[in-house]
Symmetry: C2
Subunit: 434 residues, 2 copies
């Protein structure tokens, strides 16, 4: 099917959709049925979904739904257990698996009234292996990973929001690549029980939506915390810390250009920026992340490696075989660094509302051989800080490039407010452009 991806695939805003459907339409399951119709229309190309509920089930679920998300359709990354839908964790080892219960975040979705219309693709066990999913912004590119299907389903307008996860960069990176909002809440805010564990120190539930305000609204609906952003421009003018450099890796020119565009938009909108310099320990976190994640995955995926290693991808098998050699001394050293820096990071946020960095190294890579690099996400996952991908900018090649707003742990409301400010500033600036 020939389509102009830029105009055909568009995310749907939760807040707009919520206003658009009245109580009667909600009870009839209109939004969920539209979602199923959209899957019929586009998912043969996008390939975001691994399992989909039926029309009758959608109508029944919407009719019974109460709460802030009543009747709204959602896709859940196939790394979370669902009693009613096949759950394969992206691996043939779990072919035909039907868990006996729902993951805790699925319970929270249902209690808030959401209709789970289906499961979305995940990299094998949420690691790095590419999925079959295409990037709706450019079908020749990867949507990123590991939450490939969740990001693509939102970007393609299949669902207004989706649940993903992040252990390295699995929420912020695909959000950046697919041009939508991604929100990784503070570590531990949303429960990971019933999510297939990769690393118990890092596994974090992530949210995808069309806009930052949508993502904040969802975060509030699921956590019960006051996260919603009342209006697109916050009353207080935020101050963003901009790193003078990234001692662990350098972003591409596209990412730097996007960051500069965002900075100009922020200043035009009345916000401000100031340079910040990372302490040397920030560069050590990438290695520490790798050591901790490896040590833990060798144990959490031990059953799969010990009993089904031939059914693992070469990428994951190689990772686990390297992981096997990481001893407890290396792990303890990295763990101590993690504990220490989780406390030291408070200094990063002194005098600034939030930090602003690229979300990823560059635009989504061409092709499907890689899900891209999580280099700009791993340290923040380790630190447990809330992160938001702000969409709205594109690289020279036309694909989305996001900027990342990072807040202090448990300061998610301020982080989301600052991210909404950036989103609004970028949109206002684009409109004003010649």
């Amino acid at each position: 099917m020939e389509r102009d991806a830029h105009s055909f695939y568009r995310p749907v805003s939760v807040l707009t959709l919520r206003q658009r459907i009245d109580d009667a339409a909600r009870g009839q399951g209109r939004a969920a049925l539209e979602s199923l119709a959209r899957i019929e229309e586009v998912d043969a190309d996008i390939r975001a979904m691994t399992a989909v509920i039926g029309r009758d089930e959608a109508i029944a679920a919407a009719g019974a739904a109460r709460g802030p998300l009543a009747g709204l359709p959602v896709a859940v990354k196939d790394i979370f257990d669902t009693a009613g839908l096949a759950t394969n964790y992206g691996s043939p080892i779990y072919e035909g698996h039907r868990p006996r219960s729902d993951a805790a975040v699925v319970t929270l979705l249902r209690r808030a009234g959401a209709v789970i219309v289906g499961k979305a693709t995940t990299s094998e066990f949420a690691y790095m292996a590419p999925t079959v999913t295409r990037n709706p912004c450019d079908l020749a590119r990867t949507p990123g990973g590991s939450s490939a299907g969740s990001a693509a389903a939102v970007a393609a307008g299949i669902v207004p929001f989706a649940i993903g996860s992040q252990t390295g960069g699995s929420t912020i990176r695909p959000a950046s690549f697919c041009g939508i909002a991604g929100y990784k809440p503070t570590l531990g805010m949303l429960p990971t029980a019933g999510m297939k564990c990769f690393s118990w120190s890092f596994d974090t539930v992530g949210l995808f939506a069309a806009t930052v305000r949508d993502a904040a609204f969802l975060g509030q609906a699921l956590s019960g915390r006051e996260l919603a952003v009342a209006s697109a421009s916050t009353p207080d003018k935020p101050v963003f810390g901009i790193p003078v450099d990234y001692p662990w890796t350098a972003p591409s020119d596209h990412a730097i250009a996007a960051l500069d565009t965002a900075i100009r938009a922020i200043e035009k909108a009345g916000g401000s920026v100031k340079p910040v310099r990372f302490d040397p320990w920030m560069a050590e976190l990438i290695d520490a992340h790798n050591v901790i994640q490896s040590y833990e995955a060798w144990r959490t995926l031990g059953y799969e490696y010990d009993h089904h290693r031939d059914a693992l991808s070469a990428l994951l098998r190689g990772f686990l075989e390297r992981a096997a050699s990481i001893d407890v001394d290396a792990y303890s050293k990295a763990f101590v660094l993690m504990e220490r820096t989780r406390h030291q990071q408070a200094a990063l946020f002194e005098g600034v509302t939030a930090l602003l960095t690229p979300s990823a190294l560059d635009e989504a890579p061409q092709g499907y051989d890689s899900t891209g690099s999580p280099a700009f996400n791993r340290n923040w996952t380790l630190l447990g800080s809330p992160c938001v991908n702000v969409p709205g900018l594109r690289g020279d090649n036309g694909a989305p490039v996001g900027v990342q707003v990072i807040g202090a742990p448990w300061d998610d409301a301020r982080c989301l407010g600052a991210a909404a400010f950036v989103e609004h500033a970028i949109a206002a600036s684009e409109e004003a452009a010649p």
Copy 2:
């Protein structure tokens, strides 16, 4: 069957068993077959086991086993997933459930060479509902909970060691009641992936064995950390901090008498004690524990409550219904207290090797209506400190009463060494008694 419980049911030492069976006997599965025979002999009375492997499987597993636990039989609390054995989490909701994979700690057992001979009873979802299991030290008493079967299986000589868990007092309390060693490692040392989650802030893997040295040996085999206690008396003479009072609840006279006996034995063996006084925040931790556990369980057991509430015990259902009303502000307040006190606790260990307290309020309660109180365990579970139940003492009514050695987080080796010192001191003192 009429038996004198005091002499008939005796735990088997891992270290002794390991020396007793040579390589040939190990390869033939002798220890595992003895374990199966012991189940045949006693489990109709004790009722510790929920599922047991067959003889052929035991022989095959033992023949293939390599590692520090090669050929040694172990029972695993039925709150951990096992691909080869039914896993019911103590609930009829999971009748006939066969997980698709093993919990991570089961993988660690197999990698260390242990033969998992069966699953052991757990309170429903590891909460407080009594199980069918009897206390091998006195069949008219509860073995405690929630790791009832694991503690009873070790106390009855079915297996030389067993895996349990602790979210409140589910390892130390049954170890105290059953007169065996119980070891709750530092929070996060052993993986909980594949354990049915109750509270993600507190769930901890626990170990049971005949003696403290056995428990330390197992901890080392599973964690790879240097925990083994080389000899029963440590070269350095430990100093134990003895609380002048317990601001959250008072132990029974039996428990106080046992503690006094342990103190006299310690002093006779060359150790020393000094009084310590808890800061007022220690009394607040019991409430904080309840708030955090409740808030989290309302989410982790949400599927079971929302879809199968009639299959829950009245005890758990009542708990969850109270839990539903705990809001995020109460949770956040308790969470902040937890984070703060996890750091403040270092002061408790200044100038002492470890703390020494009762393990439980009293001897095991008579009858089967309650699993007893976790009042002396919940604060240490919240703080994440390593705890060891030291067996060897009995109350006036003849049932075991343990003393609890508590160490600073990640200082497990010192905590286990100090606990082994106490165990040795008590045994030496008993031998010397008229």
